[in-house]
C-alpha cells in the first residue's frame, strides 16, 4: 500500500486539476507529466527510497499514476455528465455532422454518426452511456499512462543527476 500511495495521491490530484476548466487552460499539458514526476519525489519522501532511481521503477510509478489519473478523471467526467446531462461529446457532435455533410465522406462515416447520435440521445435522456464511458476511459488510459510515464522518466533523470552532483 505504501508503494501505491504516492501514485494514488498524484493521480487523484492530476485528475482533479485536469477536470477543473480554469486550471486546465493554464497547465494542461504539464499536469499529468508533473504528476508522474512528483510521484517519484513523493516516494522518496514517504518511503525513504534510495537513489539512484531505476528506470523500471520510474516507469512503474508513472504507469500507476497514469492509471489512477485516468480512472479518477473518467469517474469525474461520468459524474459531471450524469448531473448536467451534457458534455463535450454532445456539444461537438453538430460540427462532425457538418463536416460529413460538406465533404460527403461516405456510408461508414454516416453510420458512425448515427451511432454517435444515439449515444448523445441516451446521455440527454438518462445522463449515462456505456459506449461513451468506455470511449473516454480508453482514451484517458492511453494518454494519461504515456504522459505520466514520460514525466516519471524525466523526474528520474533529474533526481539522479541531482544526486550525482551532490
Amino acid at each position: 500500500m505504501k508503494n501505491i500511495l504516492p501514485s494514488f495521491v498524484c493521480g487523484f490530484a492530476a485528475s482533479v486539476l485536469t477536470t477543473i476548466p480554469g486550471l486546465k487552460e493554464f497547465g494542461c499539458c504539464l499536469v499529468i507529466p508533473l504528476a508522474g514526476g512528483f510521484t517519484l519525489f513523493l516516494d522518496l519522501k514517504m518511503n525513504n527510497s534510495s537513489l539512484p532511481i531505476q528506470v523500471k521503477k520510474a516507469i512503474w510509478f508513472g504507469f500507476l499514476t497514469g492509471i489512477f489519473a485516468a480512472l479518477f478523471s473518467t469517474s469525474l467526467d461520468i459524474f459531471i455528465t450524469a448531473i448536467t446531462r451534457t458534455n463535450d461529446f454532445i456539444e461537438t457532435l453538430p460540427q462532425s455532422e457538418q463536416i460529413i455533410q460538406e465533404m460527403n465522406l461516405g456510408n461508414l462515416a454516416e453510420e458512425s454518426l448515427k451511432l454517435m447520435k444515439g449515444v448523445a440521445n441516451e446521455i440527454k435522456r438518462t445522463g449515462f452511456s456505456v459506449f461513451y464511458s468506455v470511449i473516454i476511459l480508453f482514451s484517458n488510459l492511453i494518454i494519461d499512462v504515456i504522459f505520466a510515464i514520460l514525466g516519471a522518466v524525466m523526474a528520474k533523470i533529474f533526481l539522479n543527476k541531482k544526486a550525482e552532483r551532490i
Binding site: 485536469t18 497547465g27 528506470v55 465522406l105 522518466v153 524525466m154 543527476k161
Partner: protein, 182 residues
C-alpha cells in the same frame, strides 16, 4: 544490408548482455534501431493530432475523430481560438502543444543521424521551460495578447531540449525491452 540488420526489430540479443549492448549501441551513436523505434513512436503520435487533415483525402470517421479529440484533450486545453491550423482546418492541439510535439519530432529526426549523445544538464532543462512558462503567465495575466508563433516557438525550444534530456534513457529502455523479449 548492414542497415537492415540494425533496423531489424527482433534481433538476437541475449538478456544477460542487454546492458552492455544497449550502452554500446547508444554510445556509438549509430543509426540504431532504438532510435528508429523512438522516432516511429513520436511520428505515430504526431499523425494522431493531424487526423482532421485526413478529411481532405476523404478519410474521416466521427467516432475516431471524437476518440482522438478526447485523447489529445487530456493534454491540451483545445480552445478554439488557439488551435493549430493548417489550410483552414483546425487540428486537435493548440499552437504551443503543436510546437512541443513537432519539436520532439524534429529532435528525434536529427537524433537518428547524430553521431554523439547530447548531454543536457538539469539547469539547461529547467531553463528551457522558462520562456514557455513566462509566455503562459504573461498572456494569462493580460500583459500581452496570445501570439501563436510565440507559443509555438517557446514550446518547440522546450521540446528539443526535453527530448535530448530523456532520449538516451528512453533508447536504453527500448533496447532492454527488446532484449528481454528474446
Amino acid at each position: 544490408m548492414c542497415l537492415l540488420k540494425k533496423t531489424y526489430l527482433f534481433s538476437f540479443l541475449k538478456t544477460d548482455t542487454v546492458n552492455q549492448n544497449a550502452k554500446s549501441e547508444i554510445m556509438s551513436g549509430k543509426f540504431s534501431s532504438s532510435k528508429i523505434i523512438l522516432f516511429l513512436l513520436i511520428s505515430f503520435w504526431c499523425i494522431g493530432f493531424i487526423y482532421p487533415l485526413f478529411g481532405l483525402v476523404g478519410i474521416f470517421n466521427p467516432m475516431i475523430e471524437y476518440f482522438l479529440k478526447n485523447s489529445y484533450g487530456n493534454v491540451c486545453h483545445q480552445q478554439q481560438d488557439k488551435l493549430f491550423e493548417i489550410s483552414g482546418i483546425k487540428l486537435f492541439v493548440c499552437w504551443r502543444c503543436a510546437g512541443i510535439y513537432l519539436g520532439v519530432f524534429v529532435a528525434a529526426l536529427f537524433n537518428l543521424f547524430m553521431s554523439k549523445e547530447i548531454v543536457i544538464t538539469n539547469i539547461l532543462f529547467i531553463a528551457s521551460s522558462i520562456p514557455m512558462i513566462v509566455d503562459v503567465t504573461l498572456h494569462s495575466s493580460g500583459v500581452y495578447s496570445y501570439s501563436n508563433w510565440t507559443a509555438y516557438f517557446t514550446g518547440m525550444l522546450f521540446a528539443v531540449i526535453a527530448f535530448n534530456y530523456a532520449a538516451a534513457t528512453l533508447e536504453n529502455k527500448i533496447i532492454k525491452i527488446r532484449g528481454s523479449i528474446h
